[in-house]
Assembly symmetry: C2
Homo-oligomer: 463 residues x 2
Amino acid sequence: MNVRLRPRTDRQTLSERLRASAAVRTAGRGMRTEDFAGWLAGRARAHHFKVDRIPLCELDGWSFAEKTGNLVHRSGRFFTVEGLSVTVDEGPFRSWRQPIIRQPEVGILGILAKEFDGVLHFLMQAKMEPGNRNLLQLSPTVQATRSNYSKVHKGSDVKYLDYFTRPGRGRVLVDVLQSEHGSWFYQKANRNMLVEAVDDVPLDDDFCWLTLGQVGELLRRDNVVNMDSRTVVACFPMQPAEAVALHSDTEVLSWFAAERARHEVEVERVPLAEVDDWVRDEFSIGRPDGRYFRLVAASVEAGNREVAAWSQPLFEPTGIGVTAFLFRRLAGVPHLLVHAKVEPGLQNAVELAPTVQCVPSNWDHLPTSARPAFLDLALTADVGRIRYEVVHSEEGGRFLNAESRYMVIEADMSQAPLEPPAGYRWVTPGQLNSLTAHGNYVNVQARTLLSCLNAGAVELSGR
Amino acid sequence: MNVRLRPRTDRQTLSERLRASAAVRTAGRGMRTEDFAGWLAGRARAHHFKVDRIPLCELDGWSFAEKTGNLVHRSGRFFTVEGLSVTVDEGPFRSWRQPIIRQPEVGILGILAKEFDGVLHFLMQAKMEPGNRNLLQLSPTVQATRSNYSKVHKGSDVKYLDYFTRPGRGRVLVDVLQSEHGSWFYQKANRNMLVEAVDDVPLDDDFCWLTLGQVGELLRRDNVVNMDSRTVVACFPMQPAEAVALHSDTEVLSWFAAERARHEVEVERVPLAEVDDWVRDEFSIGRPDGRYFRLVAASVEAGNREVAAWSQPLFEPTGIGVTAFLFRRLAGVPHLLVHAKVEPGLQNAVELAPTVQCVPSNWDHLPTSARPAFLDLALTADVGRIRYEVVHSEEGGRFLNAESRYMVIEADMSQAPLEPPAGYRWVTPGQLNSLTAHGNYVNVQARTLLSCLNAGAVELSGR
């Protein structure tokens, strides 16, 4: 019998191809970068989109379950809004209850790649999501829950889905389960996939081929590249990276294991009806103090989605977030200050987050000593130290106007010492990128900033 | 400012040192392998050990909580026995309730290493665990829950603990959170650590230095090397291993992500009082049909433990397990047939298990078609094809007489085809070993068999 074995890894080759694609920034096979805005506007004009706030009671197909008060869909699928009871061991808030989105199905976020003229291009989609302020953003080739692609909603087929669900249809380059927002989702995970097509790929109207460098250019613009794209790009293996770092890879893993072990986090699912301090009015469920977020409802019309009209609940944060990495060059090598952050919805309670990740208005009423570490540094950073500052939206399919100012800020020794406070550690971008090869390490906000590094939207080496 | 960076990885060097230690099998610095049994018997004689079954109501400090019926300790620590409601999507049993051990604290399983005469030795401990049939087995240097080492039980200090909790006390070589038995524990995780001492290490009476090869020799004996030792040894990075495989590393990860995504598993914690079909008598909580396991109670006296006498609940399986890897040499390279197995207590519901992992007596009443794949092949394997067959105990601190026949069996094409049934896949030992660098991939039973490979207790290459 003749069995053909194959090399266990060709990451090196793949990384080189990705870096070559990242270097192509002004024009690719699909379009010039400068023409992108016009193309996206054209896609917006080509379809009818309409999103309206509606009273909670007008949600079609959704209802509050009698005993629990949980918000559920009549199909029993999609997602539910339930309650979470949380106890943590540090910070000014040690115990609270909150609504949370529970979506146990694992979805697919997949980008299809193909080489044109020796350069990898990525098939990106102009996709409407009701929660995006500008509705249309650049999304992965496929962005589908299992309800989507198993057609629970009786819609049309998801385009290009085959490449991600049928083994052998393309060559899988990346496939890893990653978490999403641990403050708003209960243990959500999606497959982040990069698949290379080996056959001819027909180009649908709402899609375009872009190089990684072009995606990087678009990541410099507010609200263009959606969260789903960003998390997939973050998982592109950009090795080989720097060979040296302040801490070895094993030391980083060990520190992280210790961080996971040291926290005592108690998380219990509770009925939404038992989430105290949150009150329901006609249009929302929120807190009287206006903090954190509200549960709201929207009716949606979209000419180019699998289903043309529907209504759904959304979480709407009550302020814009700040999400920032501090960085320093140590012996010439850029390092990011990561935070092993507790978020109650994460499967392991702790993942690596950016240095700062919060909505400042939620902390305004607290004394300085109780504010998140490094927040004020980020808010008052000298403009000359800000290497990246762009507003991005979180997942527009679940969150309404959930925007954050994503930043990368150069810090100095006095602001961010080599031995940072407990829970913080210096790692290189390459170390963080390596960790995205596996789930439950790097949170979705850190992955957004990592995608900016991978795609060259921000450059940390000397200047 | 002078910052010293270090190489991100020295896995290659570490692997070479581990392989060199695995090659030393007959004698190390501490003792000759043939003297080990005598040493262990000596340790047993040196202490007073006594374990007795007691009625559940005689558990000291433990009680069944009024509302839930959960079995809890008065300190609120250690662990609780609660209920689990499970719905799965395949197999003959789709829905059930069962007792489960909940122990949210992350413990430490740590082996201290030190080089003598150029060879790495490992500090192993003769440790009494009440659930072991022979009480005393070889355990890691440190085996401690946080309750242990934070002294909730007011016992004496855990020896050598400093090496694992104080950064810089030694050199951390491995530190990874791994799951434990997903049928009996709810989302349990322990840090699996290997730390190299750089200073002189005083040798306590109950401890001995062994090479990895000596541990491998002991892994050929029934009930000598305990589960905690086995899982840590499984995480030793034994790279570089084979460079080629039937499926690339990315393909293996992608297949595994798809396996995780395809299963619909619903797991809910419920009060122990609501676990139907389980009945309580004076000495146990179990099922009338006698299947699976019983909850029982034991009183324990141990002269050399942190606390000299206590009582505790234990899970007692009602049959001996069979845990087997089928293997084949494909184009000369050994491959193991792994099973992406659903176990309700696992954090991600699915991890990679051996080909066969079950207690056969639980399946006796079922027709052949409903029996686990490959079970009958393992039970009837020709003795010439059995490369490894040793009885090992599971964690003796929680499980009573929980034994399994661990096997490695050479299969042929007709028994185990290249394209195995859904949920199974051929991977190399090196691929499996690489995955232990991260948690939530390789289950504890697979890690036991992997430890046997790492330590050279079983040899798969040509003969």
